[in-house]
Symmetry: none
Subunit: 197 residues, 4 copies
DNA sequence: CATGAATGAGGGTTCATTCAT
DNA sequence: AATGAATGAACCCTCATTCAT
């Protein structure tokens, strides 16, 4: 593998293990099997590693999200597919998941703009899908879109978080269908219950 | 005000502004209007400030959550009340909200156990409410409880996060009712809704 | 006991346990059962405690040394008595012994003058005794007095040191007679001794 | 010179000047002509400098002591040689002498074990020599060996101490022969001496 | 390109000393 | 006289970054 990738992977691994601030360049260099100074041939500084992680590594994931919603035709299928791919990708690369979740919930940080943009991109996808559903008639129209986006984004994030904190011991992807079910139908009583209303 | 409180408030304020690791004892001391050394009369070390923040400051909030679900009788009202109080408290103390959100999503950190326990407590409340609703017949029985807890917890968290990142410019509490509505009914179109559109 | 003594004793005890620099005013205050600030009513500063220790506590011991050599008449008996009292006094107050031995062998220290003066006083006593012996004809005349003083002083010190490092587990005073024997006769074999063996 | 040596020498020089606890890393670094941080490339921490001083610098001296007693054949010559080399080595490196004397007489200190072991090694040499003398018939058999070792060790130490405190102004090695003379013959009047007087 | 020894600014922490009560 | 909370200077140590090889 090329040295840039080796360093980036090593860094994410170390960040995942210890958190960004508690990780040292020396640790990353050792993990990557290069000298400390070598890292500065590929990255401007320590912060830049995180920035580039966002720029290159997660950008590719969001392309897969785009693909995911591109294939199905109905809104529900698009949403289901998005979430399945989301969980798949994060399950596939646990270190990335850890670093992404941790850094995304930091507030004042470098690469802040990167992260905001990335989250926005994700929520834009959700918006599109939801709007499609509203056009289809499969999704309610009396929704505050800003809230719906957070609602879905947050729930998925927390499911991933739990999986991370559990040590990644169960299959994350199996959560996709039940989760979409909750998004669509909520936890409220079934149609019989509604009929009695 | 009590010096302990002054320091704790100052620390949370500084942590909220810059993040735990980028905050210095000197900054906290200055913000609190005390000497650097004074902090060590009240806290064992820098980490201990965060630990005590969790132990004393947020514990009180969770007691309010308990109160919140104790008053209403129906599950839906309990849930609504819980979320309203949750948003209220976090809106009331924005610094606390920022630090809480940031640290809760860190993985490897001191006070890890504190935080896990706190999150668990919150999700236990949700479990109880949901189970009550299932007994009432107002909440579906075909739910995977572990998932429902994350679903609600995550969505609320993300709503708070968004509010924080927006700079706290809108009224967070108004989100409570629409959010509960989403939890209960989901985003799926009900037949009437579709007809009326 | 008066507070001055309590503090001085506590300080010597703490110094003996941890060494001067690793001892804190707080520890001494706690040991003495007084507040930190109280110490400064009796002592100018931390260093002053050591200085006063030399001035008051050990000065009294050296008066006993004077007494010891004053009573016997022959040089050998004076020497024997001096050393016996020396070992007795140091055995009686082990903390004093530890602090005295440690600080005496420091070079650059406050109270330097105090210590030098004290050691000189001790060696002056030895000089007097040895000179008396030379007059008596019981001690050789072909001696370099400066060396003899160190010879005796050093040997006694090291015997005390060993006792300290052993944890003070044996009776130090029993060393007095064999030690004086070595001073007087040396380790060399006398012809009689060889014949009798 | 090797940077490790430069730092070690600088440290011993500063320790000799000010004592271990009053010396700062900054002073040592300045004396060695390196940056503060550089010291930590060669030593684990401040304490470690002292430990390594004992491990490397003084160990070599004790090898010379071994050589010194190895060459002569009679006990007296061995003892004379040991003490001459001892004084020589300490005279040659005054800073080493100061630090060694000071730290050896501390009680509660790091590297305690190192120091105890070193002192024991020295006294073991003395034991061997004395026992040889007893076999030869040149040294009395009615000796308590534990005391003899302290007697010799302490006297030599104090001679060195005096020389240090005098500012190293006279030739220390000339003390060797008179000192051995005292060890062997003691200060007591010999029968011939008494007769001639 | 790669190295890793060297740097030195910066931060957490300690603790002798003071002083208002 | 006695207290002990408060102070802040000082120090050890870390570690991101540089640069000569």
């Amino acid at each position: 593998m090329d040295k840039y990738q080796r360093i980036l992977d090593a860094a994410i691994s170390v960040f995942a293990e210890q958190g960004f601030f508690q990780s040292t360049i020396a640790q990353i260099a050792k993990e990557a099997g290069v000298a400390d100074g070598t890292i500065y041939l590929y990255f401007k500084n320590k912060d830049d590693i995180l920035v580039q992680f966002y720029q290159y590594k997660t950008r590719q994931i969001f392309e897969r999200f785009r693909d995911a919603v591109g294939q199905p035709t109905t809104a529900e299928e698009k949403l289901r597919c998005l979430i399945r791919v989301h969980l798949q990708e994060f399950q596939k690369d646990r270190n990335m998941a850890i670093v992404y979740q941790a850094e995304t919930h930091q507030n004042r940080r470098l690469g802040n703009e990167q992260i905001k943009e990335m989250s926005k991109m994700y929520r834009d996808i959700i918006s599109e899908v939801v709007e499609l559903g509203q056009d289809e008639g499969t999704i309610r129209k009396d929704l505050y879109m800003g809230l719906v986006k957070r609602f879905i984004n947050g729930a998925v994030d927390e499911v991933i978080n739990s999986w991370i904190h559990s040590g990644g011991q169960y299959d994350l992807v199996t959560m996709a269908d039940p989760l979409v079910d909750l998004f669509i139908k909520g936890i409220g009583g079934s149609s019989e219950a509604e009929l009695t209303d």
